[in-house]
């Protein structure tokens, strides 16, 4: 496999062909904020937080789904990018019903972390206050659509790691929401193995363990990485 050379924020780096800009940045030690990216599953470029600027290209590119090319000159933290990222996070907050103070994921939420990271202290956009529901029909878990940011990590982890494909996305645009089975109550979906990977994959408090109260959810992301490494590299120790 050939190697591509490029620069990220002025740092020269060489990485194998086919790698994404996000992987290259990680290699170079350059942090890029993400929400829909999850190690071990495919990328979809849903959240737009990892947008970067590539010299000579007149649009912003999502680092998680853009492959590196020879001689690329990438900027990851320009003023323009900072503005867009903050706006993206503000829109995510304005779109759903995110009440951190009483959320199960308070203090353990990637959306909250990213808001801090991009310097969002309030949203300039009018909150939509959508009328969304909560499904706690499953014996062990629940999904609160108010807190869902449609990153589709649950969809991918269930399909690609567990192989059950319980989750999917219904509707379009602002009406989009995550469905279980054929838009059935989660507790009635036979395909669900109750493995809990979607709980660990969820970056917010949208999918949680039933009975969790304020700030009690602890998503174990390392467990997912372990499962992927175990499967792909036959390493069975954590």
């Amino acid at each position: 496999m050939s190697v591509k050379t490029l620069t990220i924020d002025g740092t020269a780096i060489a990485i194998e062909e086919g790698a994404t800009i996000l992987q290259a940045a990680k290699e170079a030690g350059v942090p890029i904020p993400t929400l829909c990216h999850l190690e071990g599953v495919s990328d979809v470029g849903a959240c737009r937080l990892c947008l970067v600027e590539v010299k000579g290209i007149n649009k912003l590119l999502p680092a998680c789904v853009t492959e590196v090319a020879e001689g690329m000159n990438i900027q990851t933290n320009t003023e323009k990018l900072q503005t867009y990222r903050r706006m993206t996070v503000e829109l995510l907050f304005a779109e759903g019903n995110h009440v951190c103070s009483v959320c199960v994921a308070n203090n353990n939420c990637e959306l909250q972390d990213v808001a801090v990271q991009v310097g969002m202290d309030h949203s300039r956009f009018t909150y939509r206050f959508p009328d969304r529901g909560v499904d706690i029909s499953h014996k062990q878990f629940g999904i609160d659509h108010n807190r869902c940011i449609l990153c589709t990590r649950c969809v991918r982890v269930c399909d690609e790691v567990e192989g059950a494909h319980v989750w999917d996305v219904a509707q379009r645009g602002a009406a989009c929401y995550i469905v279980s089975g054929l838009n059935q109550p989660w507790g009635e979906v036979d395909a669900c193995t109750s493995c809990g990977k979607c709980v660990d994959a969820c970056p917010t408090g949208a999918i949680f363990r039933k009975g969790d109260t304020t700030a009690e959810k602890v998503g174990d992301r390392a467990k997912l990485e372990f499962l992927v490494t175990a499967r792909e590299q036959q390493q069975w120790t954590r």
């Binding site: 103070s101 009483v102 529901g133 014996k139 507790g187 039933k210 009975g211 109260t213 304020t214 009690e216």
Partner: protein, 475 residues
């Protein structure tokens, strides 16, 4: 010509309210009303949430007494799970409630009310506050602030934060007390006992001397009293059953369960206030007026169960020559309760169960309707939930302590106004006394309407024809 005086906002209480005083043609007070002017709608927007979140959500009703909602919600949750919580969990919950009562009562007495007692009803309003107290008596102010800190820190030691700790959960609590926490509480107890002894002696001196008349003027009237009592009529704040006594000390209803509250408590509504008017159903509205809170708890119990507090309770009753019925004695009752809380904390902190790791029972949705009750610093608090088969909230009713004192607060305000106000020219100090009538009850209007905000005051003097003659505003 008749007139109305409006005090808006009422100061040094928790929440927003105003008082209207109605004068007749002769310039005498006809009536006075205490209006609560805020609304938040917690009962509505909790619908659709999992019942397990109710403790965290309802605790947000109030920053002063979040623990009260936390415990009432957790107790209601226990009943939905239909589990018996571990012994350690109950003791820990009790400890947090004792700490909560201590800090809230200390706030009421030292920060909010003592400036009136020590600086004078008619002193400069700009200095008649906790800062004025600090300037006038720094040692007392510091001791009072540290007593409140003692309660707040216990809450933090248990729940990891002073305010809105979502620590009590359906089935128990999240974590026990640490050994370090235990040591801190033990070390700080002697100072807290010293402070409350000083405050009790000070208040007794005040009511023997300069505040002697206030007892007869500030809400002195017969009414029923309601509160939780334990076995043998022991003072309780968390468990036990409900009891009503009358002003003669006769138990008129006993062994009542919170589950049946709708059979003995009615909630009337008046168009001039967002605060409902609960009443004792068998006597009807408004004859079924009853009071809750520190004075009521001391009146419904037979004994407190700790030596120093029982001694103070005896003196409290001896001084009144029976059942103390003046709302001004809420302050006195509050101080006795702090002493009781400290003694109970002292007992609990030495109990091996409070460091036990077995603090949480688990269960599914086994009951679709449940009612939980707990004694908040201001009185008895009910949470009533209906859930679907998965545990999503369908209906919520919250009956708050302050609301239950609503009829009594109105009566108190009217009594004080009638005593002091005789024409439309009203000195500020008289209006302050009217406000102080409300402060006796230490109302938490944020809780009682499940509403937000500080409590400013607006007093209106209204003529018989309803026009405003004089208004006093304070932010």
């Amino acid at each position: 010509m008749s007139k109305t005086v409006v005090i808006d906002p009422v100061t040094r209480i928790e929440g927003h309210a105003k008082i209207s005083i109605f004068l007749n043609d002769a310039g005498e007070v006809d009536d006075a009303r205490f209006h609560v002017v805020e609304y938040r709608g917690f009962e509505k927007f909790c619908e659709g949430r999992p019942f397990t979140e109710m403790a965290g959500i309802t605790a947000r009703i109030c920053g002063i007494c979040p623990v009260s909602h936390l415990l009432a919600a957790a107790k209601t949750g226990d009943k939905i799970l239909a589990v018996k919580i571990p012994v350690a969990a109950e003791k820990l919950r009790r400890m947090m409630n004792l700490a909560q009562i201590t800090q809230s009562h200390a706030l009421s007495f030292f920060h909010l009310s003592s400036p009136d007692f020590l600086l004078g009803w008619d002193s400069d309003p700009a200095k008649r506050n906790v800062f004025g107290l600090i300037a006038a008596d720094p040692d007392l102010a510091r001791a009072g602030i540290r007593l409140r800190q003692f309660g707040q820190t216990i809450i933090e030691l248990l729940g990891a934060r002073k305010i809105h700790a979502a620590w009590a959960v359906p089935g128990g609590v999240r974590s026990p007390l640490s050994e370090e926490g235990r040591t801190w509480i033990r070390d700080r107890l002697p100072e807290s006992f010293e402070t409350i002894t000083t405050a009790l002696n000070l208040f007794k001196t005040l009511i023997d001397q300069q505040l002697k008349d206030e007892i007869g003027i500030f809400g002195e009237f017969p009414s029923l009293f309601m509160g939780l009592v334990g076995k043998d009529g022991k003072w309780d704040h968390y468990g036990g059953h409900l009891r009503f006594v009358d002003s003669a000390g006769t138990v008129i209803a006993d062994g009542l369960s919170e589950d049946d509250y709708a059979s003995f408590l009615g909630e009337a509504v008046e168009k001039w206030s967002y605060l409902k008017f609960p009443y004792y159903k068998p006597l009807g509205y408004p004859a079924g007026i009853y009071r809750v809170g520190p004075l009521a708890r001391l009146n419904v119990c037979r004994y407190i169960g700790t030596p120093k507090a029982d001694q103070e309770l005896k003196e409290f009753r001896d001084r009144a020559g029976g059942v103390p019925t003046s709302s001004f004695l809420y302050h006195y009752a509050r101080l006795i309760e702090i002493l009781a809380c400290l003694e109970h904390i002292q007992d609990l902190v030495n109990d091996p169960d409070v460091v036990s790791p077995r603090v949480r029972a688990e269960g599914g949705v086994n009951e679709l309707e449940a009612i939980g009750v707990s004694e908040a610093p201001r009185g008895t608090l009910f949470h009533h939930y209906k859930v679907d088969e998965h545990g999503l909230i369908q209906k919520v009713n919250l009956i708050i302590a302050t609301g239950q004192n609503n009829l009594a607060m109105n009566k108190t305000v009217a009594q004080i106004a009638k005593h002091y106000i005789h024409n439309s020219d009203i000195p500020e100090g008289f209006l302050n006394r009217v406000e102080a009538g409300i402060r006796c009850f230490d109302p938490c209007l944020s809780c009682s309407t499940h509403a937000a905000g500080q409590m400013p005051l607006h007093v209106q003097l209204l003529g018989a024809d309803g026009h405003v003659i004089q208004e006093v505003f304070r932010d």
